[in-house]
């Protein structure tokens, strides 16, 4: 390591604030670029699940179900 101590690594002779803030901003943006598409994917899956459920509930009754239904 170039620096003698952890404090020096953080301080960087007065340049630490510039270097570490650049690091923090890049890290936040890059984590966002992974988290956002994963959330979008989850939302899309939920949507499709809902659609499948809706379709299943709207399916016309089968012949057997009609035969079994109590006559009115």
């Amino acid at each position: 390591m170039y620096f003698d101590s952890l404090q020096q690594l953080i301080w960087m002779n007065g340049h630490g604030v510039y270097v570490w803030s650049s690091f923090a901003i890049s890290a936040v943006v890059m984590i966002g670029l992974v988290v956002i598409p994963l959330k979008q994917k989850q939302a899309a899956i939920k949507n499709i699940e809902l659609q499948i459920k809706l379709q299943a509930s709207q399916k016309p009754a089968t012949q057997k179900e009609v035969a079994d239904a109590p006559h009115s």
Partner: protein, 254 residues
């Protein structure tokens, strides 16, 4: 007949389903490689490499600024070429790639601009100057924003895709201008560290971690592009039977 055989790979490549299933297997490896490269590059660059003789420790911002800029520019080509392929061969997947590339490129351009501004303060004494390199990079950010915005301005999806592709292709003019801006104009921005011809203007001890970071950022870009495209595929192909089977956890037939 022969012609058909030669082109099957091309059409398979254009199938969203094929892309979704293939990338499923690649993702874990790509994620591990990206993480390892970025951690190694950062520890090497921020803690081990020696400081710059003139700029001191502030030069370490280079390990974020240069990789983000390089990939933001390369990402523009990827977006524009995907758009062109979509326009020419009407391949759905390549429009999906184009759309996915836009937010990633915008975010990386933003990182390049912000880290550049922070680096400017201790080096030039100002966060922002209207210098050719910085201004052309700002235009790149707006071009990315334009492609993102075009998606929502048309009610017709196909028209929106075509408009996005045309804008990305027209905006491609800006990319070589950004590369060459430090040579064409008298700028405050320092000339390129890495050159296509000739040796880098940097000591090997400082250059090696930069190379690791650039490879790491490319790897990160592929990861993000795949993740965004997979989400886009599910959103767009919700009617496809393979997507329904996938969601309801049934085995997807080959």
């Amino acid at each position: 007949m022969n012609f058909n055989l030669q082109w099957t790979w091309f059409h398979r490549l254009g199938s969203p389903r094929w892309f979704y299933q293939k990338t499923q297997r690649w993702l874990p490896w790509l994620a591990v490689a990206t993480f390892a490269l970025l951690v190694a590059g950062l520890v090497w660059g921020l803690a081990i490499a020696p400081p710059d003789a003139k700029q001191g420790n502030s030069f370490r911002i280079i390990y974020l600024h240069v990789p983000a800029s390089v990939v933001a520019l390369a990402g523009y080509y990827i977006m524009a070429i995907s758009g062109a392929v979509g326009l020419i061969w009407r391949i759905k997947l390549s429009f999906m790639l184009m759309r996915s590339a836009a937010p990633i490129g915008a975010a990386l351009t933003f990182v390049a601009l912000v880290t550049g501004a922070i680096w400017g303060k201790p080096t030039w004494g100002a966060y922002w100057v209207w210098d050719a390199r910085i201004t052309s990079m700002l235009i790149l950010l707006f071009l990315y924003f334009g492609v993102i915005a075009l998606r929502h301005t048309y009610s017709n999806n196909e028209a929106a895709e075509k408009a996005g592709a045309v804008l990305s292709l027209v905006g491609m003019v800006n990319v070589p201008i950004i590369y060459k801006s430090v040579d064409w104009w008298q700028t405050l921005h320092q000339p390129a560290t890495i050159k296509f011809t000739g040796a880098p203007s940097m000591h090997p001890d400082m250059f090696a971690p930069l190379v690791v970071m650039i490879i790491g950022f490319y790897s990160f870009y592929s990861l993000a592009l795949i993740l965004y495209t997979r989400a886009e595929i599910l959103r767009r192909e919700y009617r496809a039977s393979w997507v329904k089977q996938l969601v309801s956890n049934q085995p997807v037939e080959k």
